[in-house]
Amino acid sequence: MSLDLGAACSFRQVGYAYPGSSVPALRDLTFQVRAGEWLALLGANGSGKSTVARMCNALLIPTQGDCSVFGLDTRDPANLFAIRSKVGLVFQNPDNQIVASVVEEDVAFGPENLGLPPEEIESRVREALLTVGLWERRRSATYALSGGQKQRLALAGALAMNPSLLVLDEATAMIDPLGRREFVDTLVRLRSAGKTILQITHRLEEIVGADRVVVLKGGTKVFEGTPLELFSSRRDLGAMGIGVPPLVELREELLERGLISPEVPPTLEALMGALCP
């Protein structure tokens, strides 16, 4: 039994193999999501990222090592409901997580499952929809929303559960660049409102706002550190199976030519500030 106080979610030497598969999806993985931080989990397809997401919510149980959420062991069935009401999960395909035809009814689905009184549900739905900017569309058909809006609806559905930890499993992979930008902006707002975030992605450009980064490859950890440290080890990124976004490349080129200093992060604002003081 692990009791990591201050850890929202803790993986200790976790191993996992899907039934019938000879290749393990996770191998000896140890890391923590600290309460209140934004942790980005980065990796190519097939690196084991989604397996991690499902473990945070006890949808999968480690075959080796252990995984605990707010000190609750995910292996104990008695903890199931408590864990799931503390961890909000947003999946890759927004279309496969929306259950109702009307926006507000979909957001209400989670709180209804918790057995909350109607007034409480109503206020949670309102708050969640306001947070993701869909309050005006509360009576719209879910089908009529754009991909980006659908994904923010899925986020609202998770938020209405009032989770302490938000896990986003490749939540931006299927939406267009504009929707992606709006989604990441929402994350930044949630972060400043004090939510703990575990963001799983393969896009380096989306982790700029994160506090720390863990990189997975072949089901095991190959990097842990701050985003800036990761950007600075650009040469290794290719080997980790991660694409280098143009701004990171530009930052590197500017560094090589001695035009900026190493503490400048690869964002538009920071680079502008460094180049035109």
Binding site: R54, N57, L59, F81, R84, S85, V87, G88, L89, F91, N93, D95, N96, Q97, I98, V99, A100, S101, V102, E104, E105, A108, F109, G110, P111, E112, N113, L114, G115, L116, P117, P118, I121, E122, V125, T142, Y143, A154, G157, A158, M161
Partner: protein, 250 residues
């Protein structure tokens, strides 16, 4: 309009069953008035209600003709080998008007009640059956989800159809069997998509603490208030009244 969906479902059922008790076509006039009155109360335009009859129009014509022409009895009109009997006309009128009223009342229910409300109402009405292990909650939940996925799957079907046509699949020509074979490349991917989506959806539902109907609450619980008693009462009384009147006069 604002009545509890349970009231509307029950009233419609009462009406539909009662319509089969009518034997004299002339008394449909009374029913017509009742329909008009409910339509007036529900603030749906009469035209919209009548439009709901349109899909069954050819069926209506067919039924009426069938009865008019083939009911044996005293002939009042002859045209070569076609004869129309008094009984035939009677039956035709009875069947025709009954069908129109049936469809109109059923149409009225669906016009004033969203499918979601219908699902909620049915769940609640059937919940006593849960004791004999009838899955009332699961049915309603499935109906809600199915409604949400119909447009999505229509779009998928369209996309798969177009993709296979682009690869030269010929869905237009050939006999029935050949065409059915041509649909395998559509049915198979669609089922795989259904299967995949269902797996993902189940995970998403579980992660939002779905464990079935027990202990679940609703954001907008159904409220059965005085008006519902009154409406249901009025409806039963007028239906019984009309049936009684017919028997009394007949």
């Amino acid at each position: 309009h604002s009545l509890d969906p349970r009231t509307k479902i029950l009233s419609t059922l009462v009406l539909l069953f009662a319509l089969f008790g009518v034997r004299d076509p002339r008394f449909f006039l009374g029913w017509g008035v009742l329909l008009a009155f409910i339509v007036f109360l529900s603030r749906v335009s009469l035209r919209t209600v009548l439009r709901s009859v349109r899909p069954v129009l050819w069926l209506l014509v067919f039924t009426v003709l069938l009865h008019a022409l083939f009911t044996p009895g005293e002939a009042i009109l002859r045209f070569h080998f076609i004869k129309v009997s008094r009984e035939g006309l009677h039956m035709a009128a009875l069947m025709g008007v009954r069908l129109v009223l049936l469809v109109a009342f059923a149409g009225l229910l669906t016009l004033t009640t969203s499918p979601m409300e219908l699902a909620d109402g049915m769940e609640s009405l059937m919940s006593p059956l849960a004791r004999v292990r009838f899955p009332a909650h699961e049915m309603a939940m499935m109906m809600t989800i199915a409604l949400r996925f119909i447009p999505t799957l229509l779009e998928e079907t369209d996309r798969i159809l177009k993709a296979q046509i682009s690869r030269g699949a010929d869905l237009e020509g050939g006999g029935v069997v050949k065409r059915l074979r041509a649909f395998v490349p559509v049915l198979v991917p669609l089922f795989l998509i259904v299967f995949q989506r269902a797996e993902d959806l189940a995970l998403a539902m579980e992660s939002r603490c779905y464990v079935g109907g027990v202990g679940r609450t609703r954001m907008r619980p159904l409220r059965w208030c005085l008006e519902d008693w009154v409406a249901l009462g009025l409806m039963s009384v007028s239906v019984a009244g009309l049936l009684f009147l017919e028997r009394a006069v007949g």
